[in-house]
Symmetry: C2
Subunit: 201 residues, 2 copies
C-alpha cells in the first residue's frame, strides 16, 4: 500500500479496482437476467460478460440468490424512486411515467416475466423485494401527502395498485405506448376517487 | 339418412356426432394451450386428447390460427361477459370478480403469458381478439350506463383499464387472493373518480 500515494489517481487504488470489478459483475448479471431471465443466467457467463475471472464472481457472491438480488436492486432504482415536490398529483404522474419507461426496457420485461411463472422458485424473492421496495417508497410519499392534508387517510399500497395496475396493463399488452396523458388521467381519476370516497371525518 | 328417424335420440344424428367431434377438438385445444401455451400445442396431440383421428382436426380446421382462435374464444366467454342489472357499480364488481377468477385458472395464466413474450407472433391475434371482445362487452355496458345518466360521458376502454389493471396486477403478482372487498373498493374509487373529474356540462 506504500506506493498508493496522493499523486496516483484515486481510481487506481486497490479498493477502487475491487469496487469496479463488483460493479462490472453486477452490470453483467443485470444484463444476463434481462436476456435469459432470473433462472437462466450462469456464473461462467457473468464472468465472461464482466471480463473478470470466474473466481471473482464466486468470491464476491458465494450465494447466487444474493447476486441476483443485488444486481436487480441496483438496476431497478428508477422503478423505485418517487420525488417529493410537495404536489402529490405531479409526483404520482412522474412516478407512473418512470414506471412505464422502466417496464418497456428489456430489463423491465425480464422482471415482469420473472414474477409470473416463477412463483414457486426461491429466486422470485429478488423480484418481490424490488416490488416491495417500490411499494414502500410510494407508500412513504402517500403518507407524507396524508400528513400534509393533501389526501384523506388512504392505504398507500391500495393507491399504488390503483395507479400502477393500469400502467402495467397498457405497457404489457403493448397495445399502445404509455403517454403523459395516460399518466395524467389515471392519477386524476384515482386521486379524485379517493377523495370522494373518503369517510367524512 | 333413412334410418335416422324420430325414434332415435337427436344426439345420435350425424350432425350431432360431427358437432360433438368439433366440441371435443376445441376442448382439447383449449386444454393443450393452457398447458403448453399457444405456440406449443400440436395437431397430433389435439387428436389424441380429443380421441379423434388427426384428419378430423385438419379437415375441420385447416388453419392452425383459426383453431386457436375458436378454442380460445369458446373458453374465454366467462372473461368477456358482463351483466346488465341496471346497477353499473354492481355489474362492474361482478365483472371484476369473474375476471380475477378467470385469470387464476391455468387457462387464464396461459392467456396472460401468451400476450407478453409473444407480441411478434401472429398467433397473438387470437388473444388480442379475446381481449378486444372483453373490452367491447365492457364498453357497451358502460355506454348503457352513460345513456341512463348513471355515469358522465366516459371512454369505456379507459374505464376498463382503470378497473381491470389493478385486478391483473394483484392476481398475476400472486401476493394475495383477489376478494370481493378488492373488487368493491376498486370500482368505488374509479366510479367516484370518473364522476368527480367529469367536465361540468
Amino acid at each position: 500500500m506504500a506506493d498508493e500515494t496522493a499523486d496516483r489517481p484515486p481510481a487506481r487504488r486497490p479498493g477502487g479496482r475491487s469496487a469496479r470489478v463488483r460493479e462490472q459483475i453486477l452490470a453483467a448479471t443485470a444484463e444476463l437476467v434481462a436476456r435469459d431471465g432470473i433462472a437462466g443466467f450462469r456464473y461462467e457467463e457473468v464472468a465472461e460478460f464482466a471480463g473478470v475471472h470466474k473466481t471473482s464472481v464466486y468470491r464476491n457472491w458465494p450465494d447466487r440468490e444474493e447476486l441476483v438480488v443485488e444486481a436487480l436492486l441496483r438496476y431497478a432504482e428508477d422503478l423505485a424512486s418517487i420525488a417529493d415536490t410537495g404536489d402529490i398529483h405531479r409526483d404520482l404522474v412522474d412516478f407512473l411515467l418512470a414506471l412505464a419507461r422502466g417496464l418497456e426496457t428489456p430489463f423491465g420485461r425480464a422482471l415482469e416475466q420473472a414474477v409470473q411463472p416463477a412463483r414457486q422458485r426461491s429466486t422470485v424473492q429478488a423480484v418481490t423485494r424490488i416490488l416491495d421496495q417500490r411499494v414502500a417508497a410510494l407508500r412513504r410519499r402517500v403518507d407524507t401527502a396524508v400528513e400534509r392534508g393533501e389526501l384523506p387517510p388512504v392505504d398507500g399500497s391500495f393507491l399504488g395498485e390503483m395507479i400502477s395496475g393500469p400502467a402495467h396493463l397498457i405497457v404489457n399488452r403493448g397495445m399502445r405506448s404509455f403517454t403523459r396523458t395516460d399518466a395524467e388521467r389515471i392519477v386524476a381519476v384515482v386521486l379524485a376517487g379517493i377523495r370522494a370516497t373518503a369517510p367524512h371525518a
